[in-house]
Assembly symmetry: C2
Homo-oligomer: 209 residues x 2
């Protein structure tokens, strides 16, 4: 499990030529760190008189972030789990017509599984951003810079994820399905970049003044 790996060992494994962990797992980790930073902001907000009016809402957002953080770490593992079956499928024989048809069907199924992981990372990255946007407004001003750092991590999860969607859909034979998945990834990218840049910009302006 990625969660149990030491940071130095993860960075070393990432830097090696072994395909896992790779950009997909790293993107999931970025999401987990982004949501952890949001939880930190929440923890610095609740229990303070000044923020009593928003405490209930902030607590609800913290619970969502805690769930998201766990899901990102599980997606980092999942990214490794879907890799091996896909690599095996690439190695299937394709001498006879039957072999080719079988290989194509297996490849298609496993490419879809490998695409769903980064697409789920992207969905959760945008959800994390939406919560960070609320925390930028309602959370403790003392922790606003952590909202800014957190939203950059969520942005990396999103834009790391989309790369791994396109890599997998590129090899799919069902082009309609591939275009549908790329379309969803494109929507999330556009929405997430806009949101992340808006929230980051607001936080940065606030810090400068």
């Amino acid at each position: 499990m990625v969660e149990e790996m030491k940071i130095g060992s993860f960075a070393e494994a990432l830097s090696s030529k072994a395909p896992i962990p790779g950009g997909g797992g790293a993107s999931a980790l970025a999401g987990a760190l982004g949501s952890a930073l949001g939880q930190m902001v929440g923890n610095l907000t609740v229990g303070k008189k000044k923020y009593a009016a928003v405490e209930e809402e902030v607590r609800a957002r913290m619970e969502e972030l805690s769930r998201l953080s766990g899901e990102f770490l599980r997606l980092a593992d999942r990214d490794e789990e879907v890799f091996k079956p896909l690599a095996e499928a690439y190695g299937l024989p394709k001498e006879t017509k039957e072999e080719r048809e079988y290989k194509e069907a297996v490849m298609e199924e496993r490419l879809l599984a490998a695409t769903m992981v980064p697409l789920e990372i992207m969905e959760r990255a945008v959800q994390t951003m939406e919560i960070l946007e609320i925390l930028a407004e309602k959370g403790s001003v003392m922790a606003v810079s952590d909202v800014g750092v957190g939203i950059q991590f969520a942005r990396t999860a999103l834009l790391g994820g989309v790369m791994n969607v396109y890599i997998n859909t590129k090899s799919m034979k069902d082009r309609q399905k591939a275009e549908e998945l790329n379309g969803r990834a494109g929507e999330l990218t556009a929405k997430g970049i806009k949101l992340a840049d808006q929230v980051y910009g607001r936080v940065l302006e606030g810090l400068k003044n």
Copy 2:
């Protein structure tokens, strides 16, 4: 040491209200992961006939990234080390004139130390981007998506770093020094965003086609 922490424990510590690790340490970690992804691209390039002509250069870049990765992890530790003295300085008494002068001098010195860490993270983030730009062009096309993910991590290190520069310079009494540091941070931000977005955009276009 951050390097020795398990990923799950780091995320949990990050999410707590304890000030360290916070956005500064997380930014340093983003830099380490970005440079690790660049090393992965290098490792997937060297030793391949197709890339024999660029092997020497790619190896040189990998060494630079390995050094940067280690420096980022040390900066994550350093970010924690400078925090305690600064927090202590905030707590110094300011009853008498002598106490106020002493406090101001100590604060100033420790704010500067706390500013230098994210500024060094920013410098190294841009250096990492410059190497990733070269790898986007010369590295294995099989690993190009990892360049794209890596440059997003470096971008997060940069934009997480600048938040932590501004937080600390904001409290400095020596406004000329503060503006000088903010100016350098602003230059790095502008240069880094442009570079990261260019490289990422090229990688993404290449993947789509």
